[in-house]
C-alpha cells in the first residue's frame, strides 16, 4: 500500500467515476481509496475541472438529469474532506509553458496538471497510464 500520509493528492475524474459506478472495473480499488480518504490518511484535492467533468459524465454518459447530477457532484464539492482548487492566471501561464515544452499529455490533461502544480499538489491519483511519464509532479499513482 502506497504511503500517502497527509500528502496533497489530486483525485482524478476517472477515479470519481469508478467510485460512483458499481460496474466500473476499478470500483473496488476506488472504494478502498475513499476508505483511506474517510480515515484522513491523505489530503484529497479536487479541481473545479474534475467536478465539471464528473457532472458532464453523469449527464451525457449516465443520462442522469442535470438536477440529480448537481446533487451528486455537490456531495464531493461540499464535503469538508476535500479541498477544491481553481485555475487562476498563473495556471494559464503554467499551461502555456507546458504546451510550449510539448508535454506528452492531452491538452486538457495539461491544463489539469497546470492547476495541480499551482496548488502544490504532490500526488495525482488516476487510472490513466499516460500520466506516469510526467515529471512535473512529484508522483503519479495509478490504481
Amino acid at each position: 500500500m502506497t504511503n500517502l500520509s497527509k500528502k496533497r493528492c489530486l483525485i482524478d475524474t476517472n477515479i470519481l467515476v469508478a467510485y460512483i459506478n458499481q460496474s466500473h472495473p476499478l470500483h473496488l480499488k476506488a472504494k478502498k481509496l475513499f476508505q483511506r480518504i474517510l480515515k484522513k490518511e491523505l489530503k484529497p484535492v479536487l479541481s473545479s475541472q474534475n467536478l465539471l467533468e464528473l457532472t458532464a459524465v453523469l449527464v451525457e454518459a449516465f443520462k442522469i438529469s442535470k438536477q440529480q447530477a448537481v446533487k451528486d457532484v455537490e456531495l464531493f464539492a461540499n464535503d469538508p474532506l476535500f479541498e477544491i482548487i481553481y485555475p487562476n492566471h498563473n495556471v494559464l501561464n503554467n499551461f502555456f509553458s507546458l504546451m510550449e515544452k510539448g508535454i506528452s499529455l492531452h491538452t486538457v490533461d495539461a491544463f489539469l496538471l497546470a492547476t495541480a502544480m499551482e496548488n502544490r499538489v504532490e500526488i495525482i491519483i488516476t487510472n490513466d497510464k499516460k500520466w506516469k511519464k510526467i515529471k512535473e509532479i512529484t508522483k503519479v499513482l495509478l490504481i
Binding site: 476517472n14 460512483i20 466500473h24 467533468e53 459524465v57 449516465f62 456531495l75 464531493f76 490513466d128
Partner: protein, 91 residues
C-alpha cells in the same frame, strides 16, 4: 403556519399567564377566530428547533450508486474531449 393535531395526540396541561398577556391572547383569539390553545401551540412551535426536512447525504451515499456497464460507465479524458471537439467543429 397551521399544524393540525388529532385529539389523541394532544395532552391537557395547565399554564399560568399574566393577566394582560391573557387578555391580549383573548383579543387575538377573537379576531383570528382561533382558540387560545391553538395560539399557544403556534407560539410554542415557533420557539422549538425545526426538524430538518433535508436528509443530509454523505459520500457513502454515492458509493456505487450507478451501474453503468461498458465504456459509457468509464471516463477517458482525451476521448471525452476529442469527441466533444469533433462535434463542435462539425456543427
Amino acid at each position: 403556519m397551521v399544524i393540525w393535531y388529532h385529539m389523541s395526540q394532544l395532552i391537557r396541561t395547565t399554564i399560568t399567564l399574566p393577566v394582560d398577556l391573557y387578555e391580549k391572547l383573548r383579543a387575538v383569539s377573537f379576531y383570528q377566530r382561533k382558540p387560545i390553545s391553538q395560539l399557544i401551540r403556534e407560539g410554542a412551535e415557533k420557539i422549538l428547533p425545526q426538524k430538518s426536512k433535508k436528509v443530509s447525504m454523505t459520500l457513502k451515499d454515492i458509493e456505487g450508486k450507478y451501474r453503468i456497464t461498458g465504456k459509457k460507465g468509464e471516463f477517458n479524458r482525451s476521448q471525452f474531449y476529442d469527441k466533444l471537439i469533433k462535434k463542435k467543429v462539425s456543427d
